[in-house]
Subunit: 354 residues, 3 copies
């Protein structure tokens, strides 16, 4: 799946269209400007309509295939600036210079687009099947209850390799031994509880006897840490981490804690496939407003971003090694429960595709 395709037909079968993908941060789509983005190999032109909603059109004029993102906004319409064809927000061509008749076939594809939290989501499949209620719930960057910082990173790698990474946090002990893994070296030894979700998996675990570092030291010498995240197709990672006084894990009987944590960290991330070997990784990290001041947010974010570059170095190298011998089989281990189950689900979605 993440190996080089043997033939073009296989490549066509590669993408799951009937899904919501994160195309951009909402703050990237400024009024009056058109942004070009690529999602599952489809070029998109995104802009904000006068009502504040997001318009997502195919970024390719139907006339001579010039990119509409190089065009001009005229109210809520978009004019191609090669030969002047004009399109309404629903994709219909409404003007051809010097020509009165506009054929019905004169249109570009329109993609359903929604803002939820701080992300712009686009539905890449049949518009009729787009159900905005299925978009994962996330915390917006400007939510008063939280103090968050966001960033993004492009990968030269198939999105499922990044998903694999996020579906098996045992790698924190190794890839991130000097950054986000250093406080909890037992990531690799303790397997999380895994629960199936619709189009995803939930992971939960307690780490006990954790020695906090830096500004977290004020919470105590040792802490119990509850980590829980949902991972949803195509690569949405929504994690809450609660830091508790020692003993909380035992009191909770290994289950989710019923009490409020001393410190409540939030990580929200989304992986978006742009092309077969190109993916965008959106992320926000932070904690409850009361748990973290602006200076400590910078500290927390800096180490997090350094960790993401560690992942990128490793995953891009892994992709190159996979592409050397696409047919070679990986060795299954007990570490792979999450990635394996998620891949099975993705394969199910692909074979269910129209």
């Amino acid at each position: 799946m993440y190996a080089a395709p043997q033939d073009p037909a296989r490549e066509e079968l590669m993408w799951i269209c009937n899904a919501w993908y994160v195309a951009a941060w909402t703050h990237e789509i400024e009024p009056g400007r058109i942004q070009a983005r690529t999602v599952i190999d489809q070029p998109l032109a995104l802009y904000r309509s006068s009502t504040g909603g997001i318009v997502a059109l195919e970024d390719r004029c139907c006339h001579r295939f010039a990119p509409l993102s190089l065009g001009r906004l005229e109210g809520d319409d978009l004019r191609c600036m090669y030969h002047g064809l004009k399109f309404a927000p629903d994709g219909r061509c409404i003007e051809i210079p010097g020509q009165k008749l506009i054929p019905q076939s004169a249109c570009v594809r329109r993609y359903p687009a929604e803002v939820r939290g701080s992300w712009v989501w686009v539905w890449m499949g049949e518009p009729a099947q787009a159900d905005a209620a299925k978009i994962p719930t996330t915390i917006a960057l400007d939510d008063a209850g939280w103090r968050l910082k966001s960033g993004q990173l492009d990968y030269d790698a198939h999105y499922l390799l990044i998903d694999d990474n996020l579906l098996d946090l045992s790698h924190l002990s190794f890839v991130h031994e000097k950054t986000i893994g250093m406080d909890m070296p037992q990531w690799a030894d303790l397997r999380p509880r895994m629960t199936p979700l619709e189009r995803g998996l939930r992971f939960q675990r307690w780490h006990t006897d954790h020695p906090p570092r830096g500004f977290m030291k004020k919470l105590g010498e040792r802490l119990d840490v509850w980590t829980a995240y949902d991972f949803l197709f195509p690569g949405v990672f929504l994690q809450r981490t609660g830091f508790y006084p020692p003993g909380t894990a035992e009191q909770s009987g290994g289950q989710a804690p019923a009490v409020e944590p001393l410190f409540h960290r939030l990580d929200e991330q989304a992986v978006t496939p742009m092309a077969e070997r190109r993916s965008r990784y959106f992320y926000a990290a932070g904690a409850r407003s009361g748990d973290l001041d602006a200076e400590n947010l910078e500290r927390l974010y800096a180490v997090t971003e350094r960790a993401f570059h560690e992942d990128k170095t490793l995953i891009e190298a892994q992709q190159k090694l996979i592409d050397r011998e696409p047919e070679r089989r990986m060795l299954p281990t007990s570490l792979d429960a999450g990635p394996t189950q998620f891949r099975k689900m993705v394969e199910g979605l692909m074979s269910a595709a129209p």
Copy 2:
């Protein structure tokens, strides 16, 4: 035709060999130096012979395929500087170091080459069919009657996409709305008269009520403008633009004017395919010597060159979108008369190829 080839055989059929192509500006071929150029995927070594003519040889020694353009001129002969084989201007090998017998097969291809105006033209097909009389007539850069400035630009695009652009000037209203199109916004609405030529098309039109800008204002508040250009295979664009007092268009009955213009602009351009997705665009712009001083030539040239970069941005983006889905069909409109007819002619030339 401008889409990615499906198989190598198709690529071989891609080029029209029996045609004259602009390989270089004459001033680029300095005495005593060898220049490497590529025309329709053929590597050429160009140099000036002692009689001042241009020699164009295949830029690949027949021995071990070293480029002759890295070789050494010895009089009118060219020695390969890998193992020392020496070639006469007609392509015959005339020396192999340490070997007396030179086989008949020891030769490189010789291409007919001619200087006309300020361009070096090469004939890429059968030498016997090269007819120098068929080379389009152009004004040399140093012609006393004209004040011209030249430049060139390389495109990552198929040459026919650049031809399309030059065959439909309606794009001036959009691509060039802030440069060369701004004075005459009606480019898109008024269709030119189109006349077939041998291996080309002629376009003629009047624009009336044109408000001149900049140094052209001295000609009057409003002008009639007669634009006429011939467009010839592979992409030779020879345009004259005459600026006239208001009323001249009407007096001419919409036909070519019989009188001298107030200002006579000249544009001569040539598109040369280098490879399937690589083309060189040669251009000269200016006016009659008496119409333009050196300072205003710089102004005229600067805006023209800015416009050519606008074309390049758009056409290279268009090429990428075409290559994403080579089989996708463009929407025909009434704007496409020129490109469509020219393409038909090119297809005719290709199917007539030996």
Copy 3:
């Protein structure tokens, strides 16, 4: 063979595995660090064991294909720093975090590796067939009898094109007319004596009446020069050049001289294929310690390295011209005896491959 492969199967047949290749200079493999190298398209992780020997493992963890060269040395073992699998120097996996059973299939390939002279040699075929006695004998950079300087250069070219170059020194008269060929213009006219070796060829010749230049002038106004080199698969070039008083060639009857030279130059080089169009060229140049002080070594080395860049420019251009038309046939000449015979031997090795 050096042309672009027509199909993947052909590419697989491209490499000769049962051979020793130079993977690195010994000084590149520092204790405690892992070096990534690629030999015949195989990724290698090289490190020094506690006994000083070189360990060469497949640079790809069997679990998820992360590169082991991004891993961590733990004593003589190597831990993958993606999910923590640990490997012994023989390639066996000896630890999987959080998992007790280690399947037999958990291993990476181990390559026999040897230090000889200043090069690290790896055997890319069946370990059982690796015979260290077959590694060519070379002079180490720190050998007290010699004063040498080393360097390396990467080529975007098939290794056999570089071999061709080294197998026919007639090119010195042309490629290197201004560097190492300038003293002996007769390289192209006098053919050397060629003798077959196991997996190689020996070349020997006298140049007489040689006018030395620079610091070599102190040896005499004219010299006889004896050049002898062995060229061994895959591209090992071991050359001795002796400078003698005039008349020595004649006294030796055209055979190898029995007496000590006035000046004894040494050139040792190795070409290693990394990928189909990527090769590494290792080289050392110098002379007997007594013949050369440090300053003159710098002079000798500088002109030598300039010559190697001349080769690189030419060979990379040649490779591009070959790839334009892979099926085109080269013109055989009497210059090609060395390359032709060596290629025949290589084809024999390839057809003999398992």
